[in-house]
Symmetry: none
Subunit: 355 residues, 2 copies
Amino acid sequence: MNFNTILGTKDFLEYLRGKQASFLLACSVTNTAQIKGISQAGIPGKMYLTPTLDAEFLATKEVRSLDNIATTTKGIPTPALITRAVHELKAFSNLEFLNLGFEILPKFEYFKIHDFDITASENIKTGANIDAMEVFEKGVEFGQNYKTSSEYTILAETIPAGTTTAMATALALGYDCKELFSSSFKNSPNSIKDEVLKKALENIKPNMDIFERLSCVSDNMIIFNAGFILGIQATKHKLILAGGTQMAAVLLTVNSILKTMGGEIDSSKLALCTTKWLFEDESSDIKALLELLDFKINAYNSQFDFSTSKSKVLKLYDKGEAKEGVGAGAALVYASINGIKKEDIINKVEEFLGE
Amino acid sequence: MNFNTILGTKDFLEYLRGKQASFLLACSVTNTAQIKGISQAGIPGKMYLTPTLDAEFLATKEVRSLDNIATTTKGIPTPALITRAVHELKAFSNLEFLNLGFEILPKFEYFKIHDFDITASENIKTGANIDAMEVFEKGVEFGQNYKTSSEYTILAETIPAGTTTAMATALALGYDCKELFSSSFKNSPNSIKDEVLKKALENIKPNMDIFERLSCVSDNMIIFNAGFILGIQATKHKLILAGGTQMAAVLLTVNSILKTMGGEIDSSKLALCTTKWLFEDESSDIKALLELLDFKINAYNSQFDFSTSKSKVLKLYDKGEAKEGVGAGAALVYASINGIKKEDIINKVEEFLGE
């Protein structure tokens, strides 16, 4: 099992080979997920539970706030299973959770849930209504004070409908990227998504500044993590953004803020890691999205797939369903720089499914 | 390989997944072990050497104070082999030894042996003759000042005839638990043990306080560790008690002291971990013993066994011989939360035996 370099050199990951990572899961709800058919990342009508269930499963291998693990309507299990499998084979040194607007707190003890007094954001169709400056500043402050025993941290996300808000964010900030975005559907629900995006972007007025734009169409995950990335620059800590187009939107937001505010970023401490499925996705283009940035970024994808699995639902990942989330891509890259075998991961995930 | 939750939730161990543990081995001799047939944990006539040999083997993979490793009369090797195997596959961050009454100091350099000026205790049949208050206070002080780089510590024991003194301790403290105790024999040597217990408990007078009772029938491991558990409460450090019924006796002692002295314990920082063999032992009941406590305790057992081993002596573990000691259960649980495979442990142990 290996990784592929999308942008930059492989040296960033090679340097981290064998080192244990901390893992942060940014958990958020946007009520955009309530729009029928907008997302597959959860149970229709209960999308708000997905971050809670992902957090519970990742931490304890149990879902406690529902009877069963979250699957798509086609029965594809959450990528949290992949991240959990890696954690069992080569544990992260620390698992922590960022409460960027849970509707229901995950039910577990001991694990740290960082609380920022941030609530779920509203449907971007009518306006997300986020105090973007405040959320951003909370991210900056968290980054500035971030301490962990490991040399680097994997920052992942779970937010249903997050690809829609990510796309709205990038478009509202003026990037020419309409065709570059992904969704957890194989065939992105373009008519529904397009309508939501059209409505959302109608709320953007030309004289709005960055934060006003983000307030309308973005989500807490993107805004907070843009701040976190800039805040953590004050330290020597290395950060892996675990995700595909949503983490690209975080970087585009960072890019816009730097351009407006005139700051600089040492992006050599930063990388993005995603899955093979997202990298090969025909309806999005992660490389092109990252090339919109004014700074250089290391980006990688895992070469893991379920080609040798006997599970039919897992093989749907290889057909482009689900693709990414809960840090699956970065977890797989982490596995690959820690000598974990593909078959051991597949066996674990199959075991979770009772297959 | 996985662990099973006996009491509490799995969250305590899940939180520690991937974190490196310090390992403390409490080493003690009670001359109760000189009673013929009372214990299998060593060589008849040389039981006093077992803690020394266990310490040497755990630290160096060599026995230096004797020609060969300690086995039972049936040839079953000490569980120190299991703990050592885990240490080779996923090392503890630190191995330290508590001298709670060695007869012979282990022969090694560099490893820290904490000295408390505690000597081996006497045969409980005629009275252990321990200054229980002093040993307890030494434990408290050691706990209060305990510092280590890791987030948690595994506290294990090696003391032949320790299940006898553990049972005497619990009975002398008034717990109704005669049927709940274990021994390193498959068929607990009840007639010998019963006679020792009867004699030992005859020395307990109704007006004796806790420490007077402990002075008569307990051992240094139990008394010191009861103090250590209470002393370490002053810190945030998490502690895993590695053992079965003997560590349960430590907790029962803590419980009695708290009841008498009116203190409280935050037992969320505490857990007990043992082997599958001890958990499934028909002649003891670890769960029932722990349910005698007035505070809640997390308790787990490893699911490891030697079912796939080709070694006949190792398979005797699966038949209920030996069962636990030298932190074998907690070491196996530690392996399971660090992604170590059962087969790798079995291979190591077989290698130690030259099989």
